[in-house]
């Protein structure tokens, strides 16, 4: 979310699920919304079917939303910036810029206009393998709409150019003023129930809760006082990211890792590398509800509570803070994670005394301006609240940036097209893209334990275009070996025109055919997100069954 933080000052969905049907145009890109965010996609369908909104889909795959789209640009994976820059070019060329908005609320327009001057639709069309006329039409639809909203997910961010992709989308909203009203905005859809919250809480190497930088002396003084901890203990140096932590374990710089509620052995790119790192690190502790692939490698495993056995809050993709409540007793001796962390901190010399998660929330809210007006008691009374919610009588904020941007003026950021790190060649002629399906979720730890969901989607599949399958001698349902420069897996062929020619698709839900054995460790230089959406692979039909 580093892209949005730069351009508008806040890396979160600007608008709300409830106002989606107020959009006249929806631009959805890099989000298979009906499978990854099914209930939110209902509002998109409603906007199209009941309110006549036009849906522009920019996605290589013919996903279900294509059935609702007025226009579908099936661009080559990794060429997003070229398409968005060309849309900006058209908007400027055809006089569709919202001049009063650009003058009053943005900066950097001149440099941006100069940068996209070369990005003719024809040039982008040649790179992205779409028609120039479709780029022109997409630009006109978006710019001329009364209210147009942009939605994206990991299809935009999981690239080495992920931050650039987000900036390129943000430029479109700034150019047209499609932000700050119902049915508009820049809306990244967060994939996990509490990604937004984990970021908000400072689960990032460079910020305290509320995105207060660790490099700020003022922030360190505030947290040292709030936590009653010596100021000199709070380091001003940003820490390492997940990918850097794994590299650090291999190089010997990192000697101990504590992992809570994550399975990097399935979710990280280039799994062989992760396994080596976690095997090598001298000490590994894991807090989880299952003994997963990561826990198997640990020295100590601590049994935690599931969402149904503890109290607390999650913050959803639309910045909405909502309660979870304990419905069941804990299994065996398992403990809620907050109790485990408290016991551990106190053994390391801290004096934490939390009776319940409501007290932890209150401490956090006292140090985090955007959460200051929220408490468990208020959530109990009123239901979910959207941050920023600075005071106890504040109703929460459904739409960000209505009067001004979090950073003051919206910043145009010229970005150039950079091809994916790994391009196809004679040895590895197909692009592999990864993602989710409706019936499973992430590493499958939760969904694959449901017999019903397993019955519908029991095995890993690889989606292959019919022309590619014919050329490779692969039949529907046949076992196929998918190999990259990093590893290989076997999955069942699913021959379908959902995948464009030259691109295959796999999920990362299945440990027995983990797509991340294939993916590349290359990351976006700023956000450090790995390039899950593009790597080069080869397909070999197998004789044995899957």
């Amino acid at each position: 979310m580093a892209g949005l933080a730069t351009t508008v000052g806040s890396g979160a969905m600007t608008n709300s699920i409830l106002d989606i049907p107020q959009a006249d145009v929806l631009l959805v890109t890099g989000s298979n919304t009906t499978e990854a965010h099914p209930v939110l996609s209902l509002q998109m369908k409603r906007a199209v079917r009941q309110h006549g909104a036009k849906l522009i889909l920019i996605d290589p795959r013919r996903i279900e939303l294509a059935d609702f789209a007025a226009l579908h640009l099936r661009h080559k994976p990794g060429t997003d910036v070229a398409v968005f820059n060309a849309m900006a070019h058209v908007i400027i060329q055809e006089g569709l810029v919202n001049v009063p908005f650009v003058q009053a609320r943005t900066e950097g327009y001149a440099a941006f206009a100069a940068a996209v001057a070369e990005w003719t639709p024809e040039r982008a069309a040649a790179i992205a393998e779409v028609s120039a006329a479709d780029i022109v039409q997409a630009a006109r639809l978006y710019a001329q709409a009364q209210n147009a909203a942009i939605f994206w997910a990991m299809g935009i961010t999981q690239h080495t150019t992920g931050t650039d992709n987000v900036k390129a989308l943000s430029n479109l909203a700034l150019l047209t003023g499609q932000i700050g009203r119902p049915g508009t905005g820049l809306n990244p859809l967060r994939g996990q129930n509490n990604v937004q919250g984990a970021c908000d809480m400072g689960g990032l190497p460079n910020v305290f809760p509320g995105y207060q930088p660790v490099s700020s002396a003022e922030a360190r003084q505030k947290f040292a006082a709030g936590w009653q901890t010596p100021l000199e203990r709070l380091s001003p140096t940003p820490g390492l990211t997940v990918t850097e932590i794994m590299d650090g374990a291999l190089s010997g710089r990192i000697k101990g890792i504590v992992i809570m509620g994550e399975n990097p052995m399935l979710s990280d790119p280039n799994l062989h590398h992760v396994r080596q790192a976690l095997e090598k690190v001298p000490f590994l502790a894991v807090i989880d509800i299952f003994l997963n692939e990561t826990g198997q490698l640990a020295d100590v495993v601590l049994p935690a509570a599931s969402f149904a056995e503890k109290e607390g809050t999650f913050t959803s993709t639309e910045r909405r803070v909502q309660l979870i409540r304990a419905a069941l007793p804990l299994p065996g001796e398992a403990q809620p994670d907050w109790q485990i962390l408290t016991s551990l901190a106190n053994r390391l010399g801290a004096e934490w005394e939390y009776e319940n998660p409501g007290e932890i929330f209150a401490e956090m809210a006292g140090l985090t301006g955007s959460y200051a007006g929220i408490s468990h008691a208020r959530l109990e009374r009123e239901g979910g609240l959207q941050w920023p919610c600075p005071t106890l009588d504040h109703p929460g904020t459904p739409i960000l940036h209505t009067e001004k941007f979090s950073r003051g003026l919206g910043l145009f950021c010229p970005v150039d097209y950079i091809p994916p790190v790994e391009e196809t060649d004679d040895d590895y002629p197909f692009i592999l893209s990864t993602g989710r399906i409706l019936f499973h979720w992430h590493g499958g730890t939760m969904s694959r334990r449901s017999p019903g969901l397993e019955a519908i989607a029991p095995q890993a599949e690889v989606e292959i275009n019919p022309a590619d399958a014919a050329r490779s001698g692969i039949a529907d349902g046949q076992a196929v070996r998918v190999s990259s420069r990093r590893g290989e897996v076997i999955a069942a062929a699913r021959i379908t025109s959902r995948s464009p020619q030259g691109t295959i698709f796999m999920t990362f839900h299945f440990a027995e055919a983990a797509a991340n054995l294939l993916t590349i460790g290359a990351v976006d230089p700023i956000a450090k997100i790995p390039e899950y959406k593009v790597c080069a692979v080869r397909l070999t039909p197998c004789q044995e069954s899957v």
Binding site: L40, G191, A298, A327
Partner: protein, 149 residues
């Protein structure tokens, strides 16, 4: 049929779906110690009663027989850690073992020799405590989670 099932529920607990980031509001129907039915709630601006297939039917994991029930410690030995077996341990043994190791690493190699991976699946309160532990107790900013992944 529906009403007779509803009558059996001992408790209905209003909570938030644990799958994707949409934040659907759900009712867990509890009977005989299990979640036997899940409904979408209507009294909110998020899901209006709707749920997806995972949000409605994907809760068997809570009751899975392989849920962890006790702390586990790797047996001592010379072989690779990944190959050695786990033994059940008491909370005191397990927590002391983690604390001793972290204290040792911090004292010998400095706080930045330790890293913490917090979780987009855990609550705000737990994420807050994890980074407070890393920053305020151990003294490192090596704390991250898989939002970027």
């Amino acid at each position: 049929m529906t009403t007779s099932l509803l009558r059996q529920s001992e408790r209905i607990v209003h909570t938030t779906c644990p799958y994707c980031g949409v934040g659907c509001q759900i009712d867990l129907h509890i009977a005989n110690g299990i979640i036997y039915r899940v409904d979408g709630r209507f009294d909110n601006d998020v899901n209006h009663g709707n749920l997806c297939v995972k949000g409605r039917f994907g809760y068997d994991f809570v009751h899975a027989p392989d849920r962890l029930r006790t702390p586990l410690l790797k047996e001592k030995g010379d072989g690779a850690r990944a190959e050695r077996a786990f033994q059940p341990a008491s909370w005191d043994e397990a927590l002391n073992s983690v604390a001793d190791q972290l204290r040792h690493l911090r004292d010998h190699y400095g706080p930045d020799s330790i890293a913490f991976l917090t979780s987009a699946k855990c609550t705000n309160e737990e994420n807050y405590l994890m980074q407070k532990l890393a920053r305020g107790v151990v003294g490192t900013n090596n704390v991250d989670h898989c939002a970027r992944l």
